[in-house]
Symmetry: C2
Subunit: 118 residues, 2 copies
DNA sequence: AAAACATATGAACATCTGTTCATGTGTTAG
DNA sequence: CTAACACATGAACAGATGTTCATATGTTTT
């Protein structure tokens, strides 16, 4: 009995209603947050990041990308589809936000790890 | 035989050495790209994005977050650990890069979908 | 038209990821 | 000290994700 209460306490008792009431209305709607997570999910894979980086440098055919990344043509094709669906890549790279977002991310990890090289 | 050749062609034949030689040296090192993907992976989950957004608004206890997001305390705790490991959250929110990166991402999806509301 | 080239795709599979459940740990109040 | 509170964590499981393999679908060349 004491144990069961214990389990329930934190989930139901320890909330501060003022905070909830203040914060809840400020949250973006669920759809927006979902889309945002989806976007970052696309960036969250080494293969796709590498693809974006090679496309920063030059437009090139799928086979060249595959050769550069030392992966199969099929794998690249699958990943390119995901990048296109997210509108990050069209025929070539799509827009500047891609560079900006990735750039900001890179700055973050640079700062944290205190490395050199831009 | 013709079929086997077909399968091999694209992976080995259709590369343009000039491009490979030009682009390859420009690529950041693998470790860096890996870390970058890891960072975005952290942003690439709705629960974690929502946690970051509530923490934008106010410092609060785990149980409040759980109540706000309508999830268990355990789930939040697990996700908070990931955010802390990525140094995005300390006791409260960590730094401005977090806001900047997320803001850029949001701008991207806004632009694409042509929605209103900042 | 046939062959070569370039890319796309579906199924299968192994791995990774997020949540839940149960419980552990540390801290504060009585 | 004991109970209440706040948070952390490990195992288990279901669902998602990335790669491979085999093959399909365009598109040029010849």
């Amino acid at each position: 009995m004491a144990k069961r209460d214990h389990a329930e306490v934190c989930a139901e008792v320890c909330t501060h209603p003022e905070i909830l009431e203040k914060v809840a209305p400020e949250m973006p709607d669920e759809e927006r947050l979902y889309d945002l997570a989806e976007l970052f999910k696309v960036f969250g894979d080494t293969t796709r990041i590498r693809i974006l980086y090679v496309l920063f440098e030059s437009e090139m055919c799928v086979c060249d990308i595959a050769a550069l990344l030392n992966m199969t043509q099929s794998a690249i094709s699958h990943q390119l589809r995901i990048l296109k669906q997210a509108r990050l890549v069209r025929s070539r790279l799509d827009d500047d936000h891609v560079r900006t977002v990735i750039g900001q991310g890179m700055e973050h990890i640079e700062e944290k790890h205190g490395r050199k090289r831009a």
